[in-house]
Point group: C2
Chain length 214, copies 2
DNA sequence: TGGTGTCAAGGACAAATGTCTTACTATTCA
DNA sequence: TGAATAGTAAGACATTTGTCCTTGACACCA
């Protein structure tokens, strides 16, 4: 559920070795890599660390689109669609190392490096499918199943992802998330451990419960 | 809100004229162009007519991803990601004419026709942005605003889109949709006309109401 | 030490949405 | 014609989720 893309990482590492066009940059925890409504000029590819990608709506509420790590691309959608604003904000949840790819280099890679070109298309298609499926899942099923699915995917909650972030990812309030987690504890599917994190207690029961809905 | 893409339409029409690789096919209203879980072999581009793209979840409920018309592409995501199943079903809501592009021709166009290649990338990026934005909007705002937005985008409900389809697009039940429409009638923002369709009654009020949330 | 601020958790209530059922309308067909 | 059927709308109630507020734990500091 924290997305990664090994193929992209390997390709950009190769490109970085072979040319001087791509450089490394480091962000501190909490810094924004790109900010919603800023003018897009650069594409980034994550080398190391975890980011949160989110949209801030006019009423001030955030919706988290995904959590990403090594090999995930940032800002390519805006350049490909020739938009003059990023439509989401990317925040570093940990210390973050990224490859910096200026617009001209990105355009050049798209036109001249067929591996890069094909990989970008594949990444876009994958994301579109995942986003669509997730959108469907969250709209159709009650909250409990979405939380079950996250626990199933995660194993346990990553320490860098706060409950507020997780709630924003699910499109709900922290109150609702807590209620649902409590319900899962009551049903003896998970336990809440000493660092206020949840853990799977009864994996077979979890899987059985999930399978009812898959 | 019924999506179209003029650039894609023009390009595929040119390709169809220049080569014998692309043929036309007609579907009747209610027929499936592609079906979830079928093996992907063909990409279609809509020439004329309206389709509904939806995901059927395990519990039998449908979530409508979009309504599409001329120039919209079908099945390209599955081919680009090398999946062995379509992840959604495409149904003809009217008589439908499509260009049929077999997998080998699609691959060839991607590799040899740079205009086609770039356009596909742009289409994928656009869709990804739209899907993400919509997902965010529907999760963050209450139903009333999503319905307002649809009415604003539509002007009025297309006759080929049933209330059930519209409800599935919003991820809600028809009961909830009716309740929300009634609320808008009570507030004198819309009227329900003789063909059981809704119409904007008080456009300035509608716009004013929407703008509170944009 | 004790005061103060911050934050996470959860209780109580309100609001939104879903489920189930009934009623109404129109259509088909024996 | 009239019974059966399907589709739509909405009432009543149940369930889910959000909002608001209180409590308790902890850190920081005068």
């Amino acid at each position: 559920m924290i997305k990664t893309n090994l193929k992209v990482l390997q390709l950009i590492e190769k490109i970085a070795r072979d040319t001087a066009n791509v450089i490394l940059k480091t962000f501190k925890k909490g810094e924004y890599i790109v900010q919603q409504n800023e003018k897009p000029k650069i594409v980034y590819i994550i080398k190391k660390g975890i980011t949160k990608c989110f949209i801030t709506e006019e009423n001030g509420k955030d919706y988290v689109l995904d959590f990403s790590s090594a090999g995930e691309i940032i800002g390519e959608v805006e350049l490909l669609t020739h938009k003059d604003q990023y439509f989401s904000t990317i925040e570093a949840l940990t210390i973050l190392e990224v490859y910096v790819i200026p617009k001209v280099v990105f355009d050049q890679l798209n036109n001249e490096d067929n591996d890069f070109n094909m990989l970008i298309k594949e990444v876009l298609a994958h994301r579109l499918m995942n986003t669509s499926k997730r959108s469907s899942y969250q709209q159709i099923y009650p909250l409990l199943y979405s939380v079950l699915k996250i626990i199933y995917d995660f194993g346990q909650l990553d320490e860098h992802i706060s409950k507020q972030d997780l709630a924003n990812y699910l499109g709900i309030t922290v109150r609702s998330l807590n209620r649902t987690l409590q319900e899962l504890v009551d049903k003896k599917i998970i336990t809440i451990n000493e660092v206020d994190n949840f853990e799977i207690k009864n994996a077979p029961l979890l899987i059985k419960t999930i399978e009812q809905f898959y």
